[in-house]
């Protein structure tokens, strides 16, 4: 497609329902009440000149370029701030208006560099466009007067420059930062002629509160805020619509290119998940796709101590297949398996699990969702009937009370966090349940009504206590429960017991009972209350129990089945939902149908022409333990660095080291590749053709911007390996895979590439009943029929603090980095987060003689690492916190083997540790051993 220029109607759509008829330049148009004259004119086909207005921001009325004449009204009102009225007759062009607009433009241009031909925004500048539209031919004031042409350029941000000499002070950037992003990092300082955009208090962008979401750059009508890539490369000439490959928000982006070179990624206004907004990762941190360390040729080696040897695809596939067949011949059919990746498309995941079930002839397939949201699948299926969140992201705009638990959206899911903050600024109330003082607890114009800083490991005690308040204070939605749920009485009797009271919970959670009671009342009394949760819920020994507890609470208060409510998992990776949907778990086929479902299994057997084992296969942790035992000896890993991301690194590496064959498909050599025998180069999201399914069940198209750099799509590699193992798949195009997914998966029955290209992203279920998808689940009834209340007794984790390990370590993410950092560490994002650090409470730090910046030793019963300390009251007494983005830190060296009782999701969030001043830095050899290996680095890409 040529460059996609999205129409800008000047002001946002009105939420008015009644239509108003107006006449613009003689053309009649019907628009919703409350629509601006500017927008009505644009809809009628008459674009009113504008500079400070754009339809992603509320009207501001400062530039005075959009003046119009309205019959019967004096003067020339600004069309952006004037709402239509019935029968209004508007004139957008007249000699008077033209004279006025030229006068406005003269003033702007008298203080603007006249360097259009060499300006980075040449051809993509609204000021330039408007000068042309108003017919500016001269500036009567000349250019010698006082001006801002010598204003310095701020190049401090790694991704964009701020050239104040080109600023027209339209405030679009300030308003975007305030209204869209919600960070309030920018302001207009000074008055009159001295007015200028200022990050923070006259700070460089990099040093300010700016989170580099790019909203300001996107709305800037000139080249004042400009992507460095545009400055370096030039303006793009064509667009490919695709989907971000970072978090589970799944933002739609316009990949803007010149030839085959990506110039910039611009968030797509019509993207249902993000509606034109972005974060620093999706907007800017895509350079890893062409990083010099990318591996583009298949490699093999007999032993992991051997150097890698580049080989042809044919040799690599034969090497892997021969190895897998040999292992199965010697150790049995179940001695090999594979892991699918949430960073891959639905099509790639579906084909890989099919390769394992049909080509390996076993069910030893699992997915990296095992270590993040597998409890969501178990908990929501048990209570509501399906393994997915209940709402669209837009639903939060109708929430009156928002309960955020075990999630840090401003860092982990920033684009959704911006939506949430907008709703909070409108007056919705917020309850945060989290050990840490996350940004949502208190940030500009946001303050949680209640923050319950529970101790890690006490989630279930707290949610039971909230349910206790709901039941004992008669806050139950009796009608909802009676009509739509079952097993309520047993559950209600359970939560009403004294041991589930807030006062009892306080002994294990540390949460003030009165504050908890108030939070529960607030949630239960709201017209619409919505729950949003993350890995702070799932990555516990009672992760599944906690998800059930959240569903219980929502059902008891009637907060399901409409907009503004629901139970909403915030998925970590772009395709966690999809990888689970596609039958990646060892016990179920696509669409969450258990292997024991004879009808479903038979359907797959007939279609695939193989027998499928009706017994579940091994989960990832079990594969690793079986490898230590020697009964599991070969593993295919699709895009996951388990040696860095999975808990108890020593156990993981011992298991990998014990296997006869490890085949890794990835972009870069990583911690896991140290133990691999075959490396198959993978494709970045810029090369993939397929779909991702985000946390709101939205199936979005991922379209290739360039050909697969390694020469093969990842699904083709799985087909080739299956073929070499004796099973034919025979797809020639990714759309055929989606067609098969739709044919065998009831919730995807109506989905095809053609349909997605036509409608944009759709939310499953998408079938005959809901041909355009289902934004809100469980509207007229639950997927399982009646919503099921399930008792959730609190069982403390076996991981306990001791005199030797008196602190609790909990882990999480930071905004600028992503998971194990394989992508973000290969971008300028490292400028913000060059290393993982340990947050420690001032009292705990003082007791240990630790100050900010000190190197400290972090030790658990499993292992130890060292990292720098940051003394901070963001963590409570007795709790320390770190991230796991850098292999040199290796946070999972200290995490344990404990996991969720139902799903084996690791208990990353609770590890008993000790912190002490480090007696020495890591040696160079130790640091090297932890660092990514890039022994074979092949420059790729344009």
């Amino acid at each position: 497609m040529t460059l996609l220029i999205e129409p800008d109607l000047g002001t946002p759509p009105s939420t008015g329902v009644d239509l108003v008829t107006v006449e613009v330049d003689g053309t009649s148009v019907d628009v919703p009440q409350g629509t601006s004259v500017m927008r009505a004119a644009a809809i009628a086909g008459f674009a009113v000149p504008k500079l400070c207005a754009t339809d992603t921001l509320d009207a501001f009325g400062s530039c005075r370029l959009c003046l119009v004449e309205i019959e019967g009204r004096p003067g020339t009102p600004a069309s952006c701030t004037t709402p239509v009225t019935p029968g209004m007759r508007v004139t957008t062009e007249s000699p008077r208006l033209q004279r006025l607009r030229r006068g406005v433009m003269e003033l702007y241009i008298s203080d603007h560099p006249l360097d259009c031909l060499t300006c980075p925004a040449n051809g993509d500048c609204e000021l330039q466009d408007m000068a042309g539209v108003v017919g500016l031919r001269d500036v009567r004031y000349g250019y010698a007067g006082e001006n801002h042409l010598d204003a310095p350029i701020d190049t401090s941000n790694p991704y964009f420059d701020f050239d104040a000499s080109k600023c027209i002070v339209c405030s679009r950037c300030v308003r975007a930062c305030d209204d869209i992003q919600g960070t309030f990092a920018l302001t207009i300082s000074g008055r009159g002629f001295d007015s200028k955009v200022s990050p923070g208090v006259h700070e460089p962008f990099f040093d300010s509160e700016c989170v580099s979401c790019g909203a300001c750059v996107q709305v800037c009508p000139t080249s004042t805020l400009q992507e460095k890539t545009v400055i370096e490369i030039g303006v793009p000439t064509r667009t490919v619509l695709t989907t971000c490959a970072y978090c589970g928000v799944g933002c739609s982006f316009k990949a803007e290119l010149k030839g085959n070179q990506v110039v910039r990624m611009v968030p797509y206004k019509d993207g249902g998940a993000n509606e034109g907004h972005s974060c620093v990762k999706g907007r800017f941190a895509w350079g890893y796709a062409t990083h010099a360390e990318r591996i583009t040729k298949p490699m093999v080696r007999e032993k992991t101590s051997d150097p890698w040897r580049e080989v042809s695809w044919e040799e690599a596939i034969a090497f892997a297949a021969d190895g897998f067949k040999r292992i199965q011949a010697e150790h049995g059919r179940d001695s090999i398996g594979g892991i699918t990746s949430s960073r891959c498309t639905n099509e790639e995941v579906f084909v890989l699990q099919k390769m394992i079930r049909a080509g390996f002839h076993n069910n030893n397939v699992d997915t990296c969702a095992r270590v993040c949201h597998s409890p969501t699948g178990y908990g929501l299926k048990t209570t509501l009937g399906t393994s997915a969140g209940t709402q669209a992201f837009s639903s939060v705009e109708k929430a009156d009370v928002i309960l955020v638990i075990g999630a840090n959206p401003t860092d982990g899911h920033p684009v959704f966090a911006s939506r949430m903050k907008r709703r909070l600024r409108q007056g919705a109330q917020l309850v945060v349940i989290d050990p840490r003082l996350i940004d949502l607890v208190r940030s500009p114009h946001i303050e949680a009504t209640h923050h319950l800083p529970l101790l890690p490991g006490s989630n279930v005690a707290v949610i039971n206590a909230m349910a206790h308040v709901v039941v004992t204070e008669d806050l139950v939605d009796r009608e909802f429960v009676r009509d739509r749920c079952e097993d309520f009485d047993v559950w209600a009797e359970f939560v009403a017991r004294p041991e589930n009271s807030p006062e009892a919970a306080a002994t294990v959670s540390g949460v003030d009972p009165q504050e908890l009671r108030a939070a529960a009342r607030l949630y239960a009394s709201a017209a619409n209350a919505a729950i949003y949760y993350g890995l702070g819920v799932t990555e516990h020994s009672q992760g599944s129990t906690m998800v059930i507890g959240l569903a219980n609470l929502a059902m008891a208060t009637g907060n399901l089945g409409r907009e503004g409510v629901g139970v909403n998992p915030l998925r970590g990776q772009n395709n966690v939902q999809g990888s689970c949907d596609m039958g990646s778990f060892p016990h179920e086929l696509s669409g969450y149908r258990h292997l024991s479902d004879v009808v479903a299994r038979t359907m797959f057997e007939e279609r695939w022409g193989v027998d499928i084992d009706p017994e579940p296969g091994l989960r990832i942790p079990n594969m690793l333990s079986a490898a230590v035992d020697g009964t599991f000896r070969g593993l295919f890993i699709q895009g996951e660095d388990i040696a860095q991301s999975d808990p108890n690194t020593q156990h993981v590496t011992a298991a990998l080291d014990n296997m006869d064959l490890v085949v890794l498909q990835d972009l870069f050599l990583n911690e896991t590749s140290k133990y691999a025998h075959v490396f198959l180069p993978g494709t970045s999201f810029l090369e993939k053709d397929g779909t991702f399914t985000n946390a709101e069940r939205r199936i979005n198209r991922v379209r290739p911007v360039m050909s697969p750099v390694p020469g093969k799509d990842e699904w083709q590699v799985a087909c080739d390996l299956a073929h070499a193992m004796g099973y034919e798949m025979g797809y020639t195009d990714a759309s055929q895979i989606m067609d098969e997914i739709a044919a065998v998966t009831p919730t995807f029955a109506g989905v095809s590439f053609e349909m997605l290209d036509r409608l944009g992203g759709v939310q499953w279920p998408c079938n005959d009943i809901a041909p355009e998808g289902t934004p809100t689940m469980h509207v007229d009834g639950f997927v399982r029929g009646k919503g099921r209340f399930v008792e959730t007794p609190f069982v403390a984790t076996d991981e306990r603090t001791t005199r030797k390990f008196p602190l609790i370590l909990t882990t999480g993410r930071i905004l600028t980095q992503y998971n194990v950092g394989a992508q973000t560490r290969r971008t300028p994002n490292v400028a913000w987060h060059p290393e993982d650090v340990l947050e420690i409470h001032p009292s705990d730090a003082e007791m240990r003689g630790v100050s900010t910046g000190d190197r400290v030793r972090l030790e658990s019963r499993i292992g130890a690492t060292t990292l720098h300390a940051v003394v901070s009251e963001r963590v409570p007494l007795g709790v320390v916190y770190t991230t796991f983005h850098h292999p040199t830190t290796g946070a999972n060296v200290v995490t344990t083997e404990y996991s969720d009782w139902a799903t084996n999701c690791p208990e990353y969030k609770v590890t008993a540790v000790q912190v002490s001043p480090a007696t020495r830095e890591l040696t160079a050899d130790e640091a090297m051993a932890r660092a990514d290996i890039s022994a074979v680095a092949t420059p790729v890409g344009p």
Binding site: P616, L618, A626, D629, S899, W901, A902
Partner: protein, 72 residues
Amino acid sequence: MTGLVQDVLRMGNQISAQFRHLPGPDAASAVANHISLFWESRLQDDLFALVDDGDLDLDPILVDAVARLRTV
């Protein structure tokens, strides 16, 4: 004790603890059902072996669940 057997003992006892609130037969039945739905056969075999060996660390509910699994 290493590898899967260690997992099996920990996981089996953990599951039993989650269903302990249920009346006796129901608890064992729930544990057996969970293991049947989600455990690969070599985990179940290791669990059976632990019971046969009379491992004293096994939760009684788990032992009862194994008896039920063996009748399936």
